[in-house]
């Protein structure tokens, strides 16, 4: 398997085949919370791509340089990664606030939300333990670049589905829906159908 092909597989495997929202059902809270309008979901998506990539790469470094060599990774990865993600998000928020106020205004409100987003934690965990949340226990170890590509893939998959779903929900607002299904119920049903559609990617390619 050549190098570029492997990155391609890692990326699309993360984005589509095992999509974090529709196949693994992680990070559903923002999926329903901010998919009300296209605008907010775009802001959220950009923030998530940004934070997820950073959090995963720093978590990968912490795992491979500190936790794993010391032999404490197995039981310490949760507090360690949460610590890393939370401080990183705070740090990034401060930097953006200082260096780019317009970007802060666009992204600012979503950053604190992402601090406690399980999808970010899942991306960080899976970039050091592939297949952890799908209980597949793939005996594979991502290199640093692969881990970064993997987390970008997860984030892009998240954004893709979030933006699609927001577009659908915007149209649902004007659709003649039976009274009892209006609002969140029809959104749940739509998400379920959406998820079924994504099942079609399963087994397309594996890593």
């Amino acid at each position: 398997m050549n190098e570029a092909w492997r990155y391609f597989l890692v990326f699309f495997g993360a984005a589509l085949v095992s999509n974090i929202l529709l196949i693994r059902f992680i990070g559903l809270c923002p999926f329903f919370g901010v998919s009300d309008s296209l605008e907010t979901s775009l802001g959220m998506s950009i923030s998530v791509i940004f934070v997820m990539t950073m959090a995963s790469s720093v978590s990968w470094i912490a795992w491979n340089l500190v936790l794993e060599p010391l032999g404490v990774g197995e039981f310490l990865y949760i507090p360690a990664f949460i610590l890393i993600i939370a401080s990183l998000v705070q740090f990034v928020e401060m930097v953006i606030k200082k260096t780019s106020p317009p970007l802060y205004r666009a992204m600012g409100i979503y950053l604190p939300l992402i601090t406690t987003n399980c999808a970010v934690f899942a991306a960080a965990t899976e970039s050091v333990k592939p297949g952890f949340f799908t209980k597949l226990n793939i005996a594979y170890h991502y290199g640093f670049l692969e881990a970064v590509v993997y987390s970008v893939g997860i984030a892009v998959g998240f954004s893709l589905v979030l933006i699609f779903f927001a577009a659908i929900r915007e149209r649902l607002k004007d659709a003649p829906i039976p009274k009892f299904f209006r609002g969140v119920p029809i959104a749940f049903i739509t998400a379920a159908l959406f998820s079924l559609a994504f099942m079609g990617f399963a087994g397309m390619f594996n890593l």
Partner: protein, 289 residues
């Protein structure tokens, strides 16, 4: 128990914490953004509903603009005179406060007085309904859907009993967003202490107006003649009141043959602060049948 492992865990996590804590501490110094404390204070007194009536993106932007002098202290239309006064106190300038204005919907032709000419089953929006001409016989009246209520940031616009929309004056902040939303231009800002209001914008006159709505303004100009201060004018077939001149003598409401002009009666303890009522007709005038 493997104490070695425990120590490793404690030390590694503690060092993570210290390292990240130090990073954050340094960052908070290094990337500290000077914020004028007055911005926070101004933001505190603004309504924070982010209605956008000031033309700035949100209350925070408005607060910054006021402090930097890019906007007047009366920037917040929604907040009215109280907010203007509070902002002025923080900035330290004197300001004379005007009378608060509230939105009023200039139509009283409910289903009881204005018959339906069709049943509308399209998209539930006045804008869409207006394209079809509406379900009402009167082509100028309130369509009774929810465009204005949708844009209202304070939920001040509610359903009337008669399939119309009504503004709750005590909730309305006068931001004016609903004015743009109404495809028939029925909403106007009226001083909160206005005594009379002309509740029709029908451009039809005479029989044609009453043919589609019993309480329509027929453009008879009786109110114009009755007004001692020339505050009322009939243009385009309906009466308009100039509240700068109106002193609330109620003459116009008394002579109105179709009861289009109503009197605002303040009622203490009333949830909406008062009600519009139809005035007693002046005796001696020619009664309309």
């Amino acid at each position: 128990m493997d104490w070695n492992l425990v120590w490793k865990a404690v030390i590694s996590l503690a060092s993570f914490g210290l390292l990240l804590g130090a990073l954050l501490a340094i960052a908070s110094r290094r990337f500290y953004v000077e914020v004028d404390p007055r911005v926070e204070e101004v933001l505190d007194v603004l309504p924070k509903s982010n209605c956008g009536a000031c033309g700035l993106p949100g209350c925070e932007a408005a607060a910054e603009a006021v402090v930097e002098g890019r906007a007047p202290v009366s920037v917040c239309k929604a907040g009215g005179p109280q907010v203007t006064a509070a902002v002025a106190r923080i900035i330290g300038v004197e300001v004379e406060t005007g009378i608060a204005r509230v939105a009023r919907i200039h139509c009283k032709g409910g289903i009881a007085v204005s018959p339906l000419r069709a049943y509308y089953q399209g998209v539930s929006s006045c804008r869409a309904a207006d394209l079809t001409g509406g379900d009402k016989a009167c082509p100028f009246g309130c369509l009774g859907l929810h465009d204005c209520a949708d844009v209202c940031p304070v939920n001040a616009i509610v359903f009337d009993r008669q399939g119309l929309r009504r503004v709750i004056a005590t909730r309305c902040t006068g931001c004016g967003l609903c004015i743009e939303a109404c495809p028939r231009g029925l909403i106007e800002l009226v001083p909160v202490n206005a005594k009379v209001i002309s509740r029709c914008k029908s451009q039809y006159v005479g029989k044609k107006a009453t043919g589609v709505c019993r309480v329509a303004c027929i453009g008879c100009r009786k109110c114009e003649k009755a007004c001692p201060r020339n505050a009322i004018r009939v243009e385009n077939g309906y009466a308009m009141i100039d509240y700068d001149k109106c002193d609330g003598c109620l003459e116009c409401a008394m002579v109105c043959p179709t009861d289009t002009i109503e009197i605002w009666v303040e009622m203490r303890g009333h949830p909406e602060g008062g009600e519009f009522v139809v005035p007693p007709r002046k005796k001696g005038g020619k009664e309309s049948s």
